[in-house]
């Protein structure tokens, strides 16, 4: 369970965000404007923040910049109705860790919060383990059931991303963003064929694949 601060001025959106985060077992608090948000984030210990870009009073960009000035490194997911690529860049440059455009899928919002929380936990991780797979992030080697397996560069990054987010469903869009670094919709099949290739290399007969397909949602690594 993580403590999450939701800074959002719209009541309905705030309620939906909080409900979704609570559904994922987190404890969510709300601030309805920028100044209250900054105040709460400074005084209390949160694990992550969801931050609306446009707020009454202090706006989202300024708020996150203030937090970073005060060396508060809580991961921030920025939520914005501004979809412009320049806006995304501005949000990330100001100190946001991720950027999601409104209207968004609430499940995806929660998933992105999970990714931020995990990234924080595993920042120092050297070896990821799960499902019989050992992924060495320093030597960039993979062992399946103790047996070295050669992966191509992008296959390794895909596996690393899924393993870092074990137990969480990752949509193809966030996979494409985080693994390949592109912010457009790659289409329905592209990620699935890359996953299929990865599976061919890491699946072993006689046991279920550690990478599960969640129909209509995305992919899930289960250790």
């Amino acid at each position: 369970m993580a403590a999450i601060l939701v800074i959002e001025d719209d009541d309905a959106t705030a309620a939906a965000i909080i409900a979704e985060l609570e559904r994922h077992g987190h404890d969510a608090s709300r601030a309805a404007d920028g100044d209250t948000g900054l105040d709460l984030a400074t005084r209390e210990a949160f694990d992550a923040i969801t931050l609306d870009r446009m707020l009454p009073g202090l706006d989202g960009l300024t708020l996150v910049a203030r937090l970073r000035e005060r060396h508060i490194t809580i991961p921030v997911l920025m939520l914005s109705a501004l979809s412009d690529v320049d806006e995304r860049i501005a949000g990330l440059r100001a100190g946001g860790d991720d950027y999601l455009t409104k209207p968004f899928d609430f499940a995806e919002m929660a998933m992105r919060v999970e990714v931020l929380l995990r990234r924080r936990e595993q920042a120092e991780a050297v070896v990821l383990r799960g499902g019989g797979i050992e992924c060495d992030l320093v030597r960039r080697t993979v062992k399946v059931d103790g047996e070295p397996t050669r992966l191509l560069h992008m296959e390794f990054r895909l596996l690393e991303f899924l393993m870092r987010n074990q137990g969480e469903v990752m949509t193809r869009r966030i996979i494409f963003e985080r693994v390949w670094g592109y912010y457009f919709d790659p289409g329905a099949n592209l990620i699935s064929v890359h996953i299929a290739r990865l599976r061919k290399k890491i699946d072993r007969p006689g046991r279920p694949s550690p990478i599960q397909t969640v129909k209509g949602e995305g992919y899930l690594f289960e250790g």
Binding site: V85, Y182, F184, D185, P186, L190, V193, H194, A196, G216
Partner: protein
């Protein structure tokens, strides 16, 4: 103002002509007077009175005046008498009650007498009057003609300005088919009208495009939104079991996702068309980019049993690598999606007689020539591809990205299949 200057100038010019002519005529007359006087002064003094008589007799027309006046003022001989003394050598105008105007010069003889020589100048006067009249009449005529021409000339441009005003009012009222009239004189008004016409043409094109896009958006967003509304309405009004409700919600969510996807694509297109991202352009190695795109799509091609071949060479352009990657991805995705299963797809950087280009070829059904323009428009989906997923905006995004980079996209027949060519427009 210009008229006043012209009138003053004209009067001054005619005045100068008149004064110069009159002076010249007087000077000629004076030269004759002097010549006659000099001739008479050569005559010996004792013969002079007889010579004067002879001259006067010979002058039947009575044109000349001649007198010899003694030093004491008595008239020796002649037909003119002085009322006041005259300075010798300087001709003056005089008036005879019976014979009209004449010009007279007085000269001293060696014997101290005064020789008076005069000439009738009524003809000269008449000539001066005639010249004055002619100049006045011609001046007035010139003025009249110039005034008429000025009015005519100023009314023609005024008429053209009125016509331009009329046209601009119609354009302002929203009729972009109206054009400013061009007289064909290549003057400032014509240049102005040509510039305005070009602007109106462009605005008209943009408005038509926006209207077309708006109609398409209205249609393509309305369709899924209407479906969502119908689904929610049905769920609200009729009793359903839990599975039906879940299916309805899934359907509505999927429809809304489609709306959002189209919306996002439209926003991207407008963002691209605003051209703001050019600021971040850097040199992009298209050869490397094409290889990366091919690597990304190779598994997808393999999945459809399509042989994906790649040919690269070096070609760098100024641009945004992420956007160009997206455009190339979209084209390759289409080629694999619409190509023939088990067929071939080729992405190649080539240089031919038309210059550098990237070509994406498939050997699928291709696009009929009459449909090629339409597929580049927003929301258009080719015939018989309705079962393939997509917002129908993909190619519009590609075109917008290429347009931002000053690149053009051409569709042609790959015999069989489609060939998509990205190239720099030819410099004419």
């Amino acid at each position: 103002m210009l008229g006043a200057v012209f009138v003053i100038g004209l009067i001054a010019m005619l005045g100068v002509v008149y004064v110069a002519t009159a002076r010249d005529l007087t000077a000629r007359s004076d030269r004759i007077l002097h010549a006659t006087a000099q001739r008479l002064l050569q005559v010996p003094a004792d013969q002079l009175p007889d010579r004067i008589r002879y001259e006067l007799r010979r002058d039947r027309a009575g044109f000349n005046y001649l007198s010899l006046v003694a030093a004491d003022g008595t008239l020796v001989v002649g037909n003119v008498r002085l009322l006041h003394p005259l300075p010798p050598g300087h001709p003056v105008d005089a008036e005879s009650r019976s014979r009209g105007p004449f010009r007279l010069v007085a000269l001293r003889t060696r014997e101290g007498e005064t020789l008076l020589v005069g000439r009738d100048i009524s003809l000269l006067r008449d000539l001066r009057h005639t010249i004055l009249e002619t100049l006045t009449v011609s001046g007035l005529l010139t003025l009249l003609c110039v005034a008429a021409a000025a009015i005519g000339f100023s009314r023609a441009p005024l008429r053209r300005v009125r016509a331009l005003q009329r046209a601009s009012r119609e354009i302002a009222a929203g009729d972009f088919s109206v054009r400013m009239p061009i007289a064909g004189r290549h003057d400032e008004l014509d240049q102005f009208a040509t510039t305005v016409n070009a602007t109106v043409e462009e605005v008209g094109r943009v408005v038509a495009q926006v209207k077309g896009a708006t109609d398409a958006i209205a249609h393509d967003l309305r369709t899924p939104l209407t479906r969502v509304r119908a689904t929610l309405n049905a769920l609200h009004h009729r009793p359903h079991d839990a599975t039906e409700v879940a299916a309805g919600i899934r359907q509505a969510t999927a429809d809304l996702d489609l709306v959002l996807e189209r919306f996002a694509a439209l926003l991207r297109i407008s963002e691209l068309e605003a051209g703001r991202r050019r600021a971040g352009f850097r040199s992009v190695d298209l050869g490397k980019l094409v290889a990366q795109v091919a690597e990304l799509y190779e598994p997808l091609a393999e999945d459809r049993a399509i042989t994906l071949s790649l040919a690269t060479r070096s070609w760098s352009v100024e641009g945004d690598d992420k956007l160009l990657f997206e455009a190339l991805s979209n084209l390759l995705d289409n080629a694999i999606k619409f190509g023939r299963p088990g067929g071939r797809v080729e992405i190649a950087l080539i240089e031919d007689e038309r210059g550098d280009a990237i070509e994406v070829r498939d050997d699928g059904p291709g696009i009929p020539p009459e449909e090629r323009d339409a597929v580049l428009r927003r929301f258009h989906r080719g015939q018989g591809v309705q079962e393939i997923a997509g917002s129908g905006l993909g190619l519009s995004v590609v075109v917008a990205i290429l347009h931002l980079h000053g690149l053009r996209l051409d569709l042609s027949d790959a015999q069989p299949g489609l060939c998509v060519r990205i190239s720099l427009p030819r410099r004419e």
